[in-house]
């Protein structure tokens, strides 16, 4: 139907802003099973390649005076390490590889998704939900393993008046279980919305008179998206650190 509409009238606007998120098999045209190599596989692999290029190849010289790539790698390392240490304290440092994995994956996937014609893995709820659930499960399990039943003190606000505490406990409990939802939808929603908006602007470029405005809007949006790509990775990571702090020090 969509192809009929576009064929019927050259000047009519055709928007397919969501087509960029379609998962396709890399080889052939068949159905997608869980093991099929798809464009998701390709772009996930590319994010691994990007991370290796930055963090492994970039630091291969182990220079005391760093090259540009090595500086960026060191900057990323110091940024996340300091964030984790500031929020969780010394005992949080042990989870640094875990937090760094999340940050590096999200930031590289977000930036790779900004390439034209690319597939943005972090725009899918399936992906961000796995990331957020992993954080949620880690924090919950770690909280109980480290603190035992004392972890439940997280929901029992000791500083509040006694009468209010049961109500606050319910609110805290709900907010605790909403965490993975907001954590994942925030990331995927931001990335998806930006990409879809760019596609909508691009659709308007089909009309000659509006094209310059459309291109300017795409450019502006792209700048914003670069910001969002980093900020969302940062937000996801810092929230992970905050949740981790709850598991390590559950008292309010």
């Amino acid at each position: 139907m969509a192809s009929d509409a576009s064929a019927a009238e050259g000047s009519s606007l055709v928007f397919h802003p969501m087509d960029q998120f379609i998962v396709k098999p890399l080889f052939g045209d068949g159905a997608i099973a869980w093991y099929t190599p798809t464009n998701v596989t390709l772009w996930l692999a590319l994010s691994i390649v990007a991370i290796i290029a930055l963090l492994v190849l970039g630091t291969s010289k182990r220079a005391v005076v760093p090259t540009r790539t090595q500086s960026i790698a060191e900057l990323a390392y110091g940024f996340i390490y300091k964030m984790l240490e500031d929020i969780c304290g010394k005992e949080g440092v042990k989870y640094f590889p875990y937090v760094m994995t999340l940050f590096m994956f999200i930031v590289s996937a977000n930036f790779l998704g900004l390439l034209p014609m690319s597939f943005t893995t972090t725009s899918h709820f399936a992906v961000t939900a796995v990331l957020a659930l992993a954080v949620f499960l880690t924090v919950t399990v770690l909280g109980f393993v480290k603190n035992g039943a004392a972890f439940l003190g997280l929901f029992w606000v000791g500083s509040a008046p006694l009468a209010l505490r049961p109500i606050l406990a319910i609110i805290e409990l709900i907010s605790y279980f909403v965490r993975p939802v907001s954590h994942s939808i925030r990331l995927a929603g931001n990335v998806m919305a930006g990409h879809a908006v760019i596609k909508v602007f691009a659709g308007f470029a089909a009309i000659g008179a509006i094209a310059p405005v459309s291109i300017a809007a795409i450019t502006a949006m792209y700048g914003l998206e670069i910001l969002v790509a980093f900020i969302q990775a940062y937000v996801f990571t810092i929230l992970t650190c905050v949740y981790l702090k709850d598991a390590l020090h559950p008292s309010h």
């Binding site: 139907m1 969509a2 192809s3 009929d4 397919h16 969501m18 087509d19 998120f21 379609i22 998962v23 045209d29 068949g30 159905a31 997608i32 099973a33 869980w34 093991y35 099929t36 798809t38 998701v40 596989t41 996930l44 692999a45 994010s47 691994i48 991370i51 290796i52 963090l55 492994v56 630091t59 182990r62 220079a63 005391v64 760093p66 090595q70 790698a73 060191e74 390392y77 110091g78 640094f96 590889p97 875990y98 760094m100 994995t101 590096m104 994956f105 893995t121 725009s123 899918h124 709820f125 399936a126 992906v127 796995v130 990331l131 992993a134 995927a188 998806m192």
Partner: protein
């Protein structure tokens, strides 16, 4: 035609190859995404925890060590420089004191020599003066005696010339009395 080829592939794609609704909500694709994501995360985690993070940590620690060492070395060198300056100043002060001491010694030596020379000269002058005074006294005494002799002789001759008999003793006595007077 397109409908037939695409239809069996997925319920999330319409006949034109476009997405039906949000591809994010298509349940058929989620298993695939989750599987490959887990693989990716495990790979990234292994790469980071085995290779990248220890290496970057080592680089940063090494740099910190180098900086600390360099600062320590700089502190050391600075301390040495201060020490050397102190030594230099001390040597300078010593040398100055030594020079002053030598100058004072030399001055004292010269003073002693000078004093000796002055004393010697004074003594010589005094001796010469005494000698001269003695000579002058001798000369004066000699002159007095000569005057007496001349006066006695002259008086005797005058007495003889006047026709008197010159009594030598008397003349001498008279001259003596005159000269004294």
């Amino acid at each position: 035609m397109a409908t037939e080829t695409k239809d069996f592939v997925s319920s999330c794609i319409d006949a034109g190859g476009s997405a039906v609704g949000m591809p994010q909500l298509c349940g058929e694709w989620m298993g695939n995404q989750i599987f490959w994501l887990v693989v990716t995360l495990v790979v990234i985690f292994l790469i980071l925890s085995r290779v990248a993070l220890p290496r970057i940590g080592a680089i940063l620690a090494e740099r910190q060590g180098t900086i600390t060492n360099d600062i320590a070395a700089a502190e050391d060198l600075k301390a040495k420089a201060v020490e050397a300056e102190e030594l230099y100043n001390k040597a300078l002060a010593d040398a100055r004191a030594e020079a002053q001491r030598i100058a004072a010694e030399a001055r004292a030596e010269i003073q002693v020599g000078l004093d000796e020379a002055i004393a010697k000269a004074d003594a010589e002058i005094a001796a010469k003066t005494a000698e001269s005074e003695k000579a002058i006294a001798d000369i004066r005494a000699g002159a007095l005696d000569s005057i007496k002799v001349v006066a006695t002789d002259t008086a005797g001759e005058i007495v003889t010339a006047l026709g008197g008999a010159a009594d030598e003793a008397g003349v001498a006595k008279a001259v003596q009395a005159r000269v004294k007077g």
